[in-house]
Amino acid sequence: MWLAEVEPVLMAGPSSVRIVLPPTRPLSLAQLSAIVAITNRVRGAGGTVTYEPSTPRLAMMVRAFGRRDLAPGSSARVGFVEQVGESAIATVHTGVSIIGFVAHLGAAMASTLRHPATMRWRDFFSAAAASSADALPVTALLCFIVGFIIAFQTMPSFAQFGMPAMTGIVIGVSMVRELGPLITAIILSGRSGSAFAAELGTMTVTSEIDALRALDLEPVRFLVVPRILAVALVTPLLSIIGTIAGLLGGYLVLWGKDISFLFFYEQLKHSVHPHDFVQGVFKMFVFSLLVGAAGCLAGLQTAAGPGAVGLSATRAVVAGIVLVILADGLMGAIFYAIGW
């Protein structure tokens, strides 16, 4: 039964059509699609179609096959509260798996440090370059702008009390202890965290990770350790440069108010202590471990399928930033408690 054969009949616009089906065999896909096509034509012209024998199964199949494209936006809607709940649960899950991963990672790092010759230095250097030198311009620029904005926003309030120069203290403390490392970590997450997830995710999808395991090369040790060591060693330096850029950005506003650099410098010396710098650098070290681990873990957990690598990169960035901010709060509380 082919469409071409029945075409003349259909052209006549019959008002009722009876399709006689072969007795025993199940219908082939080609037969079914012909039946659907005829049914749609006849019914579209206002006619009726009957099948012989007519089974509920056939009617169901014809309905299913004859369906036009699903209406857009017909997928189940998820309420806002559920979404928030789900994302909170997902965050906790990510957090828990990262903690497990970090323990595994710690062991791998320790053993790499004991046998440095087993390290993939090529991966180390490329990750180090990508997360430091390549990230330097954007980090410095963003820190500079943020420093400028903070100074610009706080200056009027201080000026109201007749002491615009106090702005320098705010910039100093906020950039050194908080914003320098934080901005650097967020940029790190967007650049390196996502890159790690995409690299390792692609390797997962193409079975390269499996190939490594089959060669008795532990992927965590072989791929993850060099990347994380690279970011942990170079990004504290990056955050120092970012901090300095932020201070300069802030000073730009003071300079507009004829405050001398020497005065600004003296203010910094009194309000920002060496341990504040150490704190900032230490924070950045922790941030880079978290961002690197979140990126690599997301990459290694990549599922199968076309969008999987992109999804992993997204997860890496989101998890990285969430972890950085949580850790920032936690460390802030701890430093406060121990009076550092």
Binding site: T202, T206, D210, A214, L215, L217
Partner: protein, 261 residues
Amino acid sequence: MDTSIPSNDLLLAARGLSIGYHGKAVMRDLTFDVRRGEVVVVAGGSGCGKTTLMRTIATLLPPVSGSLAINGHELVGASAESLSVIRRSLGVMFQSGALFGGLTVLENVLLPMEAHRHLARPARVEMAKSLLSSVFMQDAANKLPSELSGGMQKRVAIARALALEPPIVLLDEPSAGLDPITSAELDRLIREFCESTGRSFLVVTHELPSIFAIADRMVFLDAQSRTITAIGTPKDLLESGPTAVRQFLSRTPPDQAKEAA
């Protein structure tokens, strides 16, 4: 072991092995051996679980149940050390090739040697090059995998699987995507490696000419009953195997077979 073969010649022994994902078996109750110096072909319909079997043997997927001994080491419940020993006694070629995209062809073959063999670098490079030329890929040594065709990538993957001179080599569809000439060359290579070095091969393949050219024995995985329905030489199975296996080996679709009967 309940066989008359000396156990050190039993490179791979599956006993009542069930394989699958997340505790759900795809294939059940598999019992078969691979002996030293033997090429065993695993055949079966698409999607029946051949790759799953390869991944299980390659220690990448835990068996659902049963036992699997590789080179004398039991995989089920293996410690980290014996897992490491098992992995080093296996060479694996994945269905997708799975070459390391960031490394050149030569580096791909060198990598396992750098990691596990104490050879001077010139010796390693020589060996890698000779492996590459045995799969006719010597001219591509400095190319990246992304610059190769699918069939070329597979050949490099075979060279990499042989790099540690493992006693057992697992090849997942080595000749899929190759032209008949290259495929025949590869079959010859597999036989040659097997006969000259006593290495054992477990090869998944659908290609009938390959099966007849290389297999000492064939293990047939049946998609319906989800287990092994026949083990034997391809010739014996073609003549007197179960219907499904004869159909497979003579390329007869089940419908036609019924009509012919």
